[in-house]
Structure formats: structure tokens, C-alpha cells
Symmetry: D2
Subunit: 426 residues, 4 copies
Amino acid sequence: MIATAHIVDNSADTLIARFHSRRQYSLALAEPLTSEDMQLQSMPDASPTKWHLAHTTWFFEQFILLPFVEDYQSPQPQFNYLFNSYYEQKGERYPRAQRGMISRPGIEDVYAYRQQIDSAIEQLLTTNTSDELVSLIELGINHEMQHQELLLTDILHAFSLNPLYPAAFNTKSGITELSADHQSASEQFIRFDAGLHQFGVAPQTDFYFDCEGPKHKAYVSQFALAKGLVTNADWLLFIEAGGYQNPVLWLADGWAVAQQEGWQCPLYWRKQGDAWYQFTLNGLVPLALNAPVSHISYYEADAYAQWKGCRLPTEYEWELAAREQAISGNFSEKQIFSPMPCAEQGVMQLYGDVWEWTRSPYTPYPGYKAPEGAVGEYNGKFMSGQYVLRGGSCVTPIEQMRSTYRTFFYPHQRWQFMGLRLAKDC
Amino acid sequence: MIATAHIVDNSADTLIARFHSRRQYSLALAEPLTSEDMQLQSMPDASPTKWHLAHTTWFFEQFILLPFVEDYQSPQPQFNYLFNSYYEQKGERYPRAQRGMISRPGIEDVYAYRQQIDSAIEQLLTTNTSDELVSLIELGINHEMQHQELLLTDILHAFSLNPLYPAAFNTKSGITELSADHQSASEQFIRFDAGLHQFGVAPQTDFYFDCEGPKHKAYVSQFALAKGLVTNADWLLFIEAGGYQNPVLWLADGWAVAQQEGWQCPLYWRKQGDAWYQFTLNGLVPLALNAPVSHISYYEADAYAQWKGCRLPTEYEWELAAREQAISGNFSEKQIFSPMPCAEQGVMQLYGDVWEWTRSPYTPYPGYKAPEGAVGEYNGKFMSGQYVLRGGSCVTPIEQMRSTYRTFFYPHQRWQFMGLRLAKDC
Amino acid sequence: MIATAHIVDNSADTLIARFHSRRQYSLALAEPLTSEDMQLQSMPDASPTKWHLAHTTWFFEQFILLPFVEDYQSPQPQFNYLFNSYYEQKGERYPRAQRGMISRPGIEDVYAYRQQIDSAIEQLLTTNTSDELVSLIELGINHEMQHQELLLTDILHAFSLNPLYPAAFNTKSGITELSADHQSASEQFIRFDAGLHQFGVAPQTDFYFDCEGPKHKAYVSQFALAKGLVTNADWLLFIEAGGYQNPVLWLADGWAVAQQEGWQCPLYWRKQGDAWYQFTLNGLVPLALNAPVSHISYYEADAYAQWKGCRLPTEYEWELAAREQAISGNFSEKQIFSPMPCAEQGVMQLYGDVWEWTRSPYTPYPGYKAPEGAVGEYNGKFMSGQYVLRGGSCVTPIEQMRSTYRTFFYPHQRWQFMGLRLAKDC
Amino acid sequence: MIATAHIVDNSADTLIARFHSRRQYSLALAEPLTSEDMQLQSMPDASPTKWHLAHTTWFFEQFILLPFVEDYQSPQPQFNYLFNSYYEQKGERYPRAQRGMISRPGIEDVYAYRQQIDSAIEQLLTTNTSDELVSLIELGINHEMQHQELLLTDILHAFSLNPLYPAAFNTKSGITELSADHQSASEQFIRFDAGLHQFGVAPQTDFYFDCEGPKHKAYVSQFALAKGLVTNADWLLFIEAGGYQNPVLWLADGWAVAQQEGWQCPLYWRKQGDAWYQFTLNGLVPLALNAPVSHISYYEADAYAQWKGCRLPTEYEWELAAREQAISGNFSEKQIFSPMPCAEQGVMQLYGDVWEWTRSPYTPYPGYKAPEGAVGEYNGKFMSGQYVLRGGSCVTPIEQMRSTYRTFFYPHQRWQFMGLRLAKDC
Ligand SMILES: [Fe+3]
Ligand SMILES: [Fe+3]
Ligand SMILES: [Fe+3]
Ligand SMILES: [Fe+3]
């Protein structure tokens, strides 16, 4: 099994309620979008809203209804080809880069498909709450949460190509200008001792993804971690210091990409005259100087750290700092959908606001084995060329977050809410 | 002026009626499409339906309202950036390849824009029917017709990428199987004498595009032209004879493209088991053997002609044959939207069904000068690298057709309704 | 037959002498080059010197020895794969873009191969001077001349990538600075009457390539042709007038290429401080202001003509002006290898100095049929997408030149010695 | 300092002798090559032999003569531009992908340059043997060794594109066919206990590269390592089992590359009829079944391990096994230049034959800081996207090898002598 759920109350009713609530949240996020918005695919990395809504449904159908319902007949057999993302063991797939070409089924057809599958799942759960089934429901719910985040980052990217700067949402903005006595906490360091620690979650705990385990030991040298995230104001100083023009600060691969793509600032920054703006899910807004910088690549994060004579933390370092803290912060449910400033004691904003790039490549933990079957393709086959990010962002559902959660992206990617925190040896 | 209109009845009422009728036809063609369909851009050469509907409106606004209405204020000033196609003299443009990314304005906004502009045009025409204005209205109407054709060829291309084979229309199919005693007329030749002829239209005639003139003399050697178009049945023989595997038949550039793209048949043919089908605006249908072959590149047409020991006609040869004939045939108004078989006396199907590739590169006629101003960018700047096609197709409005009409495409392009007729020296 | 030779004195001795002399000239051109120079292939369009020397030899072997010598055994059977350029009917070929990867055979092996084949040809000619054989020898000699030109243009391109600016030759430079009272003749026009003319050479004349015939009639409208070629001084004015920044002057395809490639001046111009230099086969030299501009694309030539309110001549117009003139000028044998200024009566420099872009796409003349067999691939299969240039250049052997000679290149290509002459309607 | 040398005998004479001997070895490796061979650059990753000979010389000039010789005047100032590889702090560089375009300086000029610099180094060493200088000489010697390896792998790649299969060397082949009772040792595992170990070398040891340090602790779980390398015979079974056709075995990135590149076997395997051959520095030879497989990517190595239910070792695991062993094996000095079979006690062939892919991304060790100055660009800026390989190969100088040596390549690269050893958890 890819995941094991240790759910305190796994009565059918509770599970069905959680299932419907989580499924409903996807629809809520899509609610302000038009059918034309939901059709957009702005790059191969991103997918249309409509596709997300259909694919998460397909996931429940393929991984639960198909194996658990006897003689299961799909209401939409053709959808297996259209909405399989990357599971080789589930058969041929529609080319990823063309997902934006599927105008039919229309969004109404996809809503109907969701209802059909949701009803079937509910019916199944009234008769079967085996551990295996509950675990897979849990997996489907976590999968749905991941796509709820992608739905938002993907529509942000699509809208960013529209010169009319459409706003997907119109929620509280809450972002303030930089006060005169402002001091960034991004260079206030907190020290941690060296030690041999245990990492990776145990089988008896709550739900986790296979890549978060198994439990294993690792030695971590003494290090220091910054109290605060690097902010937009910090980043402006990097720009003004010529950070984007100085190859000596950059990894060789990063410099090559930066030159080829013409990077001069984070992905959604826009300069109009002398003023900086940022494109957000609330449209184009003045750059919030004291908010964490976001939408930067690993390469940019690493160059910034070089410039500061620091480095990025490893994922173990991050986890050591995070695992004692309560999980709260600026997550999706706050409906701000932009990183926000913060002022607290201790290491701040480990959770929420922005995913934090670590310097740890996404590799298997000692003893890791991908599960058997198609579900084994969920994580294992992506363990090359990517880096781990930790902590979740302002568009991540809070329920999904835990100190062991590893997300992963390529070092050139910028369309997620990605930021950084400095670390250093000491 | 790009064009001169010699309109018998250019009373305001008549012109307004023609204008509205032509504008209405664009909406009628889009009627069976959903807002998601109208969002699709399946390749840089093609445009979304919504874009066509907005761009043709922009054309009237920019080339007529802006110069003729005093202190003209656009209801949508941002649309100039979004819906300018390629007129450098009209300012910066949104990148062509990203037209499918514009979900907002939505289709309802575009419909509203059309109404606003149409009302303004109607109002203008009630007070001004100067020759210059009438000529520009005429140009706008002809421009609208060109995009009515593109709207259909572009949605056909987009739908062809959908494995569910959606049908845009459900009109009469009318296409029959090949009868046992069938004889293709594609190798029955009709001879024409050599002679010095006049080509190009005169300033005092009806509307024409600048590239159709000026009137000039050209000498045409003796030649023969096939009675019939090459049919799907003919093309099957080419495939079976290994035409797509034999480089000796092909132009060097054509062979290179064919290998790179993996061409093995016309663009929309699909083989299922042993049977050939064709994807059409009515969905996937069995291949109509006696219908003209369509959706082939210049390179394929040339290779076919080589295989037959023939050649493609020049545009002058085609025009000599066509200019004595009445203009009728399978055009857009028949609402078949697929090439059809035909049986007649003389050279058949010169008009309608499929555009016919000629071996004439699209070059300026002797004495040609592009008009002054942005309107001069309509045709002249495209006079390199393309070939002339003649006669119109099953998705061309018949009003647009005349014996001097030159359309032009790159030799590798296949998404228009393009076919061929053989010619030879004699 | 691709070509027919009407040679006055085709005695074996004379033919052998001509053959050896022409073959020897290739070696003479390569003489100043090192074995490393001769290895270079700087782009897929160009070939290494060593490859030219081997390929022209292969041509004699394949088209003459193989068919005419009984039981012919090649001394180097593997060379057919390596040195076939593009003849599909001669079998598989080594990939064109990798010609620079063939370090073995070394240049000494290629010299030995040349000697082997030359001896065999000489021996064959002592026993056989049939018309067919003589025609093919003539074809081989003309083929050798074409590659003598390419050998020079290709090494110039390769050397242009070397920041040390190597000089292949050290011959007289002869190029003067622009005098104070200088007047370009590029806008002095000479008028020609309209008329129906005969073009294309007859079968009973001297050697010609198949694409120069057959003889046919064409009507040419009244036109005017400039006395002089456009000079470097003229071109500087185009640059200073913002010619490279103004899309309105350019063909749409040309503007796209110019932006993508970042064109700001002719291919081999280099600016150092405020001064312009040109890289030549004699190294980097100050720009010769009164010499004809060279190494410009069709797109640039067309934009220049647009800027001047003129156009490029058609190939018929050029031929009408040229066919009364004696063939002399700055050709390869002068060993200057750079375009030179000129002052004469009448239309000047029609021959030599630079190939002149015409506005005529390279298409078959009426009645053209490619010859049977591999020799038919010499010209016919390239008749799409290219433009005709006329008149030869400073690296063309003069023997090759005639008023009907058509060379052809793609409109974006610049590495040949390509210039322009203005024309206009009148 | 990038490296520290603890050289027992660093008398001037001994150091000069070592210097000359190492420099001479480069010339010896190039000796069988022609000047044309030495010009070849077959892909951007590879460089011409001539470039390697010049660049290693440039390294001594820039990192030693320039800082240590007062008022140093380069005999070839232009070579800094031509032969700088990637040191941003040394100024602009000639584009890497065009190194094969530099025919001048010729090879004789490069030989002369080597002599000039070598004499200057010798002269400098007679007057200065400061620790800093000796360390840099040591660095230069190690750099020379790295390029001695690249010189061989790069010419092998270049020759592999020549259909005549040239042999660079003609040394003993020594490779036998697979005997009937053969048993591969690639699945005989030896177990290692878990433990907290120290890795990374200390400042007081012999020469090492910066990336090999600093000394640090890491915990290694219990594991097992295969006694033998995976052999060609083993790999044939992988091919026959459909390993190249089964996406389930592959990393997602690996499968994408394999499909795009059409991988069906290791880089230099060639099938002729039913028999497998391998292209080597001795030309095309029958595949040696009991020799280690070579020229496979990380992706292929990982897929093979998946197929076997195993995994690749980490670099720590490899190092634990290797650091107790004496350093001997099939290295460059044996002049075999191909991987060979082996039969020994214990874990075999940890050193020599083929570099062994580890599953460890090339990342900085805890506490790593790149040195100041241009020398700091040697390793640190490449620490993203690459994997560590360990142990050296049949073209690595033995002097270079040590248990802590980390080389690194991208997971898609195959042109080095790269093989694999299985590992597993236990
Ligand atoms: Fe998914
Ligand atoms: Fe238009
Ligand atoms: Fe040739
Ligand atoms: Fe180096």
C-alpha cells in the first residue's frame, strides 16, 4: 500500500462526510471561473481546471470503484484515456500537452461525471469500510487536495498570460506596505545542535505518502536556520545588487536557464514605470514588500543564498525545526491565496504561505520501495532531477500538511508558490 | 485603396442589409459550438472561433469607425491589442500562438462587442455612402467571408485532436460509396491553345483584392487540364503504389517534411482495421471514394502529379479554364462542409469543393504595388514562400468567389480544404 | 540527358586537357588550407573542403565510370555512402549535417582517390568520345565548377566563426575607400520596352543545365533596371535609416527571420568602435564603401528595394539586359574573391562580383521535364521555396557563366556572395 | 584553496619530473591521431583533442603563471578567450558548442604553446616551491588527468559517428567470449552493517578536490553490495526481457529520454544480422559477454536495478566498501581502453573498468564551501541535476583514483565509460 491510514473514527458516515466535503471544495474553488477559463492549459506543466475536476474523479473510479465494485461498468469508458495522468499500468493516455484541446466533454459533462462517481463511492462506503478501502479513500482525498492546489496555481499561470489581468478571486487582500522601521527576519538565525535523528513516518501513524517513509536514521550536523522567510523587500535588494546579472552567484545550470528565459525577477512580478506590481489570483496588485517572495526557481533561491553567504536548508534540517511546531498558518482555507507577512516568536512561517525550497534532491529514503501496482507510480518514478520543498503554501489545504510531507519540483519551475528560507553551517 | 467596389446598388439600405446579413452568417456558423469549443486554438496557424468573431469586428472598427467617425471612442480600447492579427501599422499585438489563452473577454463579451460595432457601422452608413467608405465596407465584408471559412477549417482541426471525434454539424452527408463501374475523370484531359492573354482585373470592375491586379499580359503555352479533380479513390491507389515511401516522386523539401511529420495519408484520414475513414465537420465518416481528395499539402499534390507523369496547372492555366464558366458548386451555403462527387460536361468543379493547388508561387503581378497604409499589409507582405490556390472550397462563401481570386498557403500546410487537378504540356 | 554539349573541338586530347585543368583548379583553391581547415563544417548548409574534393570525384565515378567502364570496380566502395550528396537513386547517404565528422579518410586519402578516378577517366576518354560520354564529362566539369564556388563560400563561413579572423588568401585587395564626389549608380535606371520574347536555351547550343530550358516564350512588360549594383555605402544608409527596425519594409517571413536571427547588417560585417569592417577570404578588412554589398538575404534585398520604392528584377528582366553583353567581370580567376567597385557604360556588373537576387521563385519553365535517372535529381527536385539569382560572383569560375544560368537559394540564406540591383515598373 | 597536497617529496626536481611526465602522457594519448581527428567535436558535451591539449595548458597558464610570475606576458593572449572552458571569473569564452570550428591555431601551434608554458612552469618551480604553488601544480596535474580521460572518451564518441569504424588504438584486446559454465557475479551480494561513519577527507591528507570534503559524519543503514559489476551478458538478458520496452521499470524522466532518443541498447552496441558488436577505441569488435557493461545512462542503470528488484548503491555505500581496498585494476595505463572481465575474492572491480553510477545526486557535503576565486568554479557550480559516479574507468589514470573521488554526470549521459553494480537493502 502506498499509504496507511490510522483514522480514529472511520465510521462510514464520518468518512462519507469527509469525502463529500473534500470533493465539494474542488467545486467551490472553480466556482468563480467561467467555462472558458476552465478550458485553459497555458503550458504542458499545467492543466485545465476542467481536467483537474475530471482527473480526480477518474482517480476514485480507477483506484476504488474498478477494484472494489463487482462487475463495475464505467458511465464514461472513454474517460480512462482522457483523464489518466501518467499511470502506465492504467493504459494509454491522451498527450499531456494537449489537455487544453478537449472542449468536449464540456464542463457540465464533467460535473455530471463527478456526481455519478461520488454517488457510487458513497454507496460503496455504506457496505464496505475495510482498512484497504478506507486507505484508498484517504489516498483519493489527499490526491484531491493536491489537485486543489494545482487548480489554483494553474489558473494563476493561465491568467498571467492575459494582458487584461483577470482576477479569479476577490477576497480580502490584507497585504500591507513596508513600514519605515521594518526589519526582515530572513537573516536572524536560530541554531540547532548536531545529532542522529529518526526520520520518516511509522506504519501506525495517520495517512502519509509512500515517499515519506520508511522510518530511518540520519545524522544531521549542527546548523542554523533563519527565523523568517526571504521577503519581497529582500529580493528587491538582490535585484538592485545585480543578482540576475552575476553568473558567479549561480549554479551553472541555473545561469543557463536564466539567460535563455531572460529572468530578471520572480515569475509574476511586473514593472510599470518605476513601480513593481505582482500578478495574483486577485489580479494585479502593488508588490507587498514585507510578504515572502514567491514564484522563484530553485536556481534563483540558491543564487540568493550564495549572495548572502548562506545556503538553503536540507529537508532534514527543515523537518527538525518544523516537527515540534503546531501546524497552522496561511493555508488555502484562509482564502487569501497570496503569501502574507508574519510576526511571531521562533522560526516563523514554516507552514503555509510558500513552499520552501530545500537543497535536498528528491530521492528515496533508505529502505524505500514503491508499492506494487499502478498506485506505485504515484511518487517513486519521479525520484530523479527534482528537489524537495516543504511546508505547504497559501493555496495548500491545511489538512494535507505535516512535518514529513515532501513535495517536489524541477529546479527551473516557478509557477507554484515557491519561496525560500536561509540556512547556514555553524 | 486596396480594392474598388463597383456596386450597382449602393443605397444605404441595401448596403446595411448586406452588411448585417454577412455579419449574421458568422454567428450562424458558430451557433452549434459551445463556449469551450470557441476557446480552442489547436496550432499557431489556426485561431479560436471567439477570436475570429472578435477580430472581424475589430477590422470594421479599425479600418472604418476609427477613420470615419469623428472623435471615435472605442467601447473596448484594449481589444486593439488582443484582436489585431498582423497589422504592424496598427500597433503591438498579442502573440499569435497564444490566442487560445484569452478566456476573458468571454464569448458573451465578444457578442456584445459585435453588436456595439455593428450598430455604429449602421449608424455611419445612414449618413455617409461615399465611394471610399463603401469600398471599405466591401473590404470588411470580404474579410468577414475569409474568416468564415477559417472559422470552419480551424474548428475542424481542433476537433480532429479530440479522440471522441465530435461533430460540429449534423447536416446532410450526401456522400456515396464508389460504384462498380466508376471511372475517375481525373485523367481525362481537355486541351487549350497557346496564346497571349490579359490577366488581372481592371479598376472599374466589382470588388477585388489588390493582389488580383493590375491588369497585365502574359503568354501561356499550349496545355491540357484534367476534367475532374483527383478523388479519394485515386489517392488510395497512390498510397497503395507506395507513393509515400518513394522519395524519387517528391520535391526535396516535401520529402523532408513528409519524413519529419510521418505523413502516410491526407491529414484527416484515419484507418481502423482495414477500413479508411475521414474526420469531417460531421464527425468521423467512412471515406467517400468518389469525392475529391482534400487536406493534402502542395508537396503531396506535386508528388501525385509526378507519379502520374503530369504536373500541377499554373494559376494562369486554371484561370483561362475557369473564367468562362458560371460560378456555382459546392460552397459554404450548401452547408455540406465536405467535398462532394460531381458529374458534368467540360472541366468540372473548378469552383467549390476544394481549393486547387497551382504550381504558381504567390508573387506580385507585373506592376503590382501594395496600397498605402495598414490596409497595404493585407496581402503584399505575404508574397514569399507560398503557393496560389484557386476556386474556393465547400466552406467558402460563394459570394467571395471569382475567376481571379487568389488564395495562398505554404506548401506544407494541409488544414484547409485543399485538393488538386492534374495538368500537362502538350 | 540533363545537358547537351555542342563542343566545337571534342577531340579526346582537348577534352582530357580541359578535364585535368578544371580538376586541378579545385586543388589550387584548397592549396592555402591546412588539413584542419579542410575538415570544417560550420553549418548544415556548408560542407568541408575535403568533402567537396571527394564528392566531385565521386560524381565522376558514379555518373561516368560506373555506367561506362565494363565491370567497374571502385577503389573505394565505401565512399559511395560517404560522398553521395543527395541522389536518392544512388542509395543511402551519410547525414548531411555530420560531414564535418569524417576525419578518416584523411585529406591524403582523398587526394589519392582523386588521382585514381582521374586516371580512370583519362583512360576511358582515350577509347570513347561518344556524345553521351562527352556530355556527361561536360556535366562533371560544370559540377566541379559549382563546387569550386561552394568550397570558397563554405570556408569563408567557417573562418568567420574563428575570432582570430584567419585569412585564407593573401591576394591583391584592390579595394578603395569612398571618394568625396562618389555617386552610386544603383539608382540610375535604364529603360526596357515591353515585348514577347523567347527564353530558355535550345538543344543545339553549348552546355546548359536542364533547368535553363526548354526554349519558351514569355511576355515581359516595360521595365527599368538600375545601371549599378547596390553598394556598401548605399547599404549603410539603409541601416542608418532604421531599415532593420522597420517591419513595414519587410516581407512577413523576412521580418520573422530577421528578428529571430537578430540581423542588423550583412552577414560578414563587423563593427569595431565606430568603424565597419568586413570579414573576407583575405581576413578582416575595412568595409569597401563603393563595392557592391554582399552576403544579404532575399528578405533584406527586398526590404531595401521597398525602402527605395523599387523592386527586385525578375529573372526574365535580368536576362534581357544581360544577354546582349559580353561575359566578363570579377570572377574567380581574378583571385580577388571579394566584390569590387566598377565604372562602365550601360548596365554594369551584370556578370561577376555578386549573384543578383531576382524576385522570381525557382520554378520549372513551361515544358520542363527532369531527365530520367539519378541525374534528374540534379535540379528538378529543388524547385520549391527558393529564388533565382543570376550573373555569378567573384568566386564563380567564368567558364560557368552565361545569360541563362539560374542558381537558386532559399530567401533566408546569406553565405553565398549575394547582392542586389534595383528595378522598377515604368 | 580548492585542494591541499600533502606530498612526501616535494623537491623541485621530483615535482618537475612528475609534471613533465603527466604532461607528456597527454601527447602520448594523442599520438595515434591525425590532425583531422584532433579537430573533431561530435557533440557539445565533447571537445576536440586539440582543444583538450590547449585547454589544460591554458589552465597552468591562468592559475599558476599569471598569479605567480611577475609581469607575466602570455605568448598567446588570444588563447584565453579560445581555451577557457567555463570560468566566468576568467572572462568571456568562445562558445562551447563551436570548439570544433577552430582550425587555426593548428595542432602544431598548440604543441608549441604547450612547450612554451611547460618551460615557464619548469622555470618557476626552480625558484618557488611554496605550499600554495605546489598545491596548484598538483591541481593542474589532476586537471590534466581528468582531460586525459575526456580526450579518450571524446574521440571514441567522434569516431563512433564514422561508418568506417576507425580504430584509434591497436593495443591488446584481451577480451574473451563467454564460456559455457560462466556465472555472472553481479547478483552475489555481500552484506554490510549499519553504522555512523565519517566521510570526506581531512585537510592533512594527499591531494583531493574540494567536493570530496569536508570531513563529516553520516549514518548508513545496513545494506548489501554485489560482488561483481553487471556484465554485457547480463545486459543482453535485460534487452531480451523487453527492458527497453517496459515503462514500468523506468524513472519517468528516463523513459521520456529513452523514447525520444530511441534507446534500445548501450551507446556503442551495434547489431549486424544476429550478432552484437561494440564500437571501441580499437574499432568494432564482437561484444565481450563477460566484460562489464559500459556506456549506459543512469536511467538505464536504474531500470536494470528495478528489473532485478534491487537498487543502485549510494555513494557512501560504495565508499565504505572501497576504502579498505587497494587501488588497482584496469586503468588507463594498462592501455586496454575497454572494460575487462575479472575474477577475484570479495567485492570486485570497485576500481577501474567502468565508473559506477550511484543513486546519490551530486550535492555538497555538510559544511562544504566553494573556494574563493575562479578556482571555486571548478566543482561547486555543477552541484545540481547530476549524479555521482565512483571508482574510475579503463581510461582513467590510476594516480587520480581514491576512495573519496566523486565524478558527476547528468543522468542521460552515456559517452563516458559508465556501468553499474547492484545494491539492496537487507
Ligand atoms: Fe493526479
Ligand atoms: Fe483577418
Ligand atoms: Fe554536388
Ligand atoms: Fe578543464
